[in-house]
Amino acid sequence: MMSGLSAAGSGYRRILKLQLLALVPVSIAAVINGGYQYLLVLAGDPGRAGDDLRSNLAAGLGASYENPGLYDWLAAGLAHFLPMLLLALVVGGFWERIIAAQRKRAIEPGFVLVALLLTLLLPGSAPFSHIVYGMSFAILLGKGIFGGDGKTFISPALLGVAIVQVSFPSAAGEHPLWQGLAGYAGSDAIALFHRGGETALAEAGIDLWSAFIGSTSGTLGTTSLLAVGLGAALLLVTRIIAWRLLLAQLIGVAVVATLFNFSANAAGAAAMPAYWHLLLGGFAFGAVFIACDPVASCCTNPGRWIQGFLVGALVILIRVTNSTHPDAVIPAMLLASITAPLIDHLVIAWNIRQRARRHV
């Protein structure tokens, strides 16, 4: 028996470490921007500070909303980010342990990545009960029943977040970090664009630069295109994610967004140029860390082109035509992820047909 090694061989651990390393810039951006957004809201309305653990922790660490500096942002950000991550890790570890005992194998380390991804995809104000709920679904339904690390069929973190989104569609509360969010659906900036175009964005203090470095409101990890880009570069250089899949998503976004731009009555989000789609909301983060999950995406090169284009196209389609779901990244990626085995099946069938036509 080689139970201890089943998926967690040295090669797999190397991939996992690199995936975690690629999330470091995003995590740093998440902490700083989380604190920044929190203190920004408090500066406007000091009465918004709640009496929950995270707010008390931020206050206890001495994060001040008056002339906040890097320390204040870090303290306030960590006060939100760390408890969420720790809770996700504890819940994930708990289920992983039970699964490992049931399956009589060693504990697989993949739940660490799932916990981090889930945390980064949630608002900093997500109730702890929702994190427990989402993480349980992610590990049990997303990973455990499919056989564990390396055998998942959709990205477990994606499933966890989707379940939370569907179950608590109007979860936004009074906490400062719900500010600027459409509940779990993520950034409200696209809805702003829906209503008033770039003027509305400018009024909310969002310009190209702030959206690029990520000083806008949003779910924790998704705001900074810069940080996501750094992580993507690492994953591309180490060949963990398929560049075709990533490029195809960008092409999908560019093509469909441009088509909408040129459509007859381009108004609202239909008039939104492709680069804003990339900058706002969770698309960039999802494209790199969720849709490009090597295990849960297409595993043939033509399939990767098709699936990538599908993701990009679906994100724009839902964003533009369904104003109640302004971010659209989670449902689009869920749909595309489910079609991946079908796409692969068709690609392989075509490949076999080509082979059957040869005469030797």
């Binding site: 080689m2 089943s6 090669g11 390396g150 060949r239 295990v295 043939t300 082979r355 059957a356 030797v360």
Partner: protein, 399 residues
């Protein structure tokens, strides 16, 4: 020695024919331990296809016939003694297909042909869809085929014209770009230049590009440039070519270079005084496509052109298993995959031992060397060469 090639000749006292190099052959011994044999004398033949001879790579005394599980022949070892001379074959009387085939079978040259699919010695009466001559080698630290072919150009030319006549199929001469092979004009000898990375010299790549294997049950044949020279040597001089150019390289080799050595030479003699101290790991072949030598495997394999010896730490002795962990479909696999093959579905089929699926996904186009890079790139630590061979054995048995 002809030509411009100035290589050191390493003399060895022991050489062998290795059983695993000749798949699907039921060896019938034509000699016994203690016999004295001339170079090129038939030592064994295939009991099922008795025309196929396996001949002595050098003159000497048959020292040992080593057998493994189920009395499978592992090696037939010869203590080299050059004074015994060589068998002289009369050159073929005419250019008829049957005469030439008879000459190749008798002299042992036939046994250097390999079929694709499966990598067997072709049947003496079989008709290939094409014959591939591999006249380039893109693997790191490989001997330079251009210089070797130029040094033995007469042999090479006469062998190619003989290969052209043993079947009605085209002979593809796969060479490096810029290598002008000044052979006589013939419409059936087609020169094709291949360039690219380290895989550009693999026969599997050439076959896929020029005459890809499908499901129709046909086969193509291929052989390496040194085997072509050996055939030419037999045609022109009537004796077995008792030399091969082998490159020894790797981080544990003091003086990496090419040497001339008896085919099937004992590796420990070949490497005497060549290695640095400390633990090493040996690869039959290049760092890119070589296979790890099993412990106790001490002779150069048929057609082997390279020996790589790497310095290792003892802790690194992690060996690949037949079945390892899960395949993580990262992008490195796509780079390591042979052309036209979707690596992840194929690797999964190989891991499951699903022969039918593997066949559909192109397993018939491949042999062990084509998936060596995949074994290295995949995190599952599986030896896909072993798994592929199991699947090929199943497919072959089903034909």
């Amino acid at each position: 020695m002809p030509g411009s090639l100035d290589l050191e000749t390493r003399a060895v006292t022991s050489a062998a024919l290795l059983g695993p190099d000749y798949r699907r052959v039921s060896f019938e011994l034509l000699c016994k331990e203690g016999d004295e044999v001339k170079a090129g004398a038939a030592l064994m033949r295939d009991a099922r296809r008795p025309e196929i001879n396996l001949v002595a790579p050098a003159a000497g005394r048959v020292a040992r016939v080593e057998r493994g599980a189920r009395r499978k022949l592992l090696s037939l070892q010869i203590d080299v003694d050059d004074t015994l001379g060589a068998v002289r074959h009369d050159p073929p009387a005419d250019d008829e297909r049957s005469t030439l085939r008879g000459f190749m079978l008798e002299s042992g040259a036939w046994s250097s042909l390999r079929t694709r699919p499966f990598g067997n010695i072709p049947h003496p009466e079989a008709e290939p869809a094409a014959i591939f001559v591999t006249a380039l080698d893109a693997e790191p630290f490989a001997p330079e085929p251009r210089r070797i072919i130029d040094a033995w150009f007469d042999e090479f030319r006469s062998a190619v014209s003989a290969l052209e006549k043993i079947s009605a199929a085209p002979v593809y001469l796969c060479h490096a770009p810029g290598h002008t092979l000044a052979l006589g004009e013939s419409d059936r000898v087609r020169r094709v230049a291949f360039e690219g990375g380290e895989s550009a010299g693999l026969p599997g790549i050439h076959i896929n590009a020029l005459c890809p294997i499908g499901f129709a049950g046909g086969e193509v044949w291929h052989l390496g440039y040194q085997d072509v020279i050996a055939l030419g040597h037999l045609l022109l001089r009537g004796t077995t070519w008792q030399q091969r150019v082998v490159s020894i390289s790797g981080s544990a080799v003091k003086n990496p270079r090419c040497v001339l050595v008896t085919p099937g030479a004992a590796i420990d003699e070949l490497l005497a005084d060549e290695l640095i101290d400390g633990p090493t790991q040996m690869l039959a072949g290049s760092p890119a496509y070589g296979r790890r030598l099993a412990p106790g495997q001490n002779f150069l394999a048929a057609g082997q052109r390279q020996l790589t010896v790497r310095a290792t730490s003892v802790a690194e002795a992690e060996t690949a298993q037949a079945t390892g962990g899960v395949v993580i479909p990262d992008d490195r696999l796509e780079r390591a995959a042979p052309p036209g093959i979707y690596p992840v579905p194929l690797l999964r089929a190989l891991q499951l031992g699903d022969a039918e699926r593997a066949r559909e996904l192109g397993a018939l186009e491949l042999v062990e060397e084509d998936v060596a890079a995949l074994s290295r790139a995949c995190v599952s630590n599986s030896d896909y060469g072993l798994l592929l061979r199991e699947v090929l054995n199943q497919l072959e048995a089903g034909q």
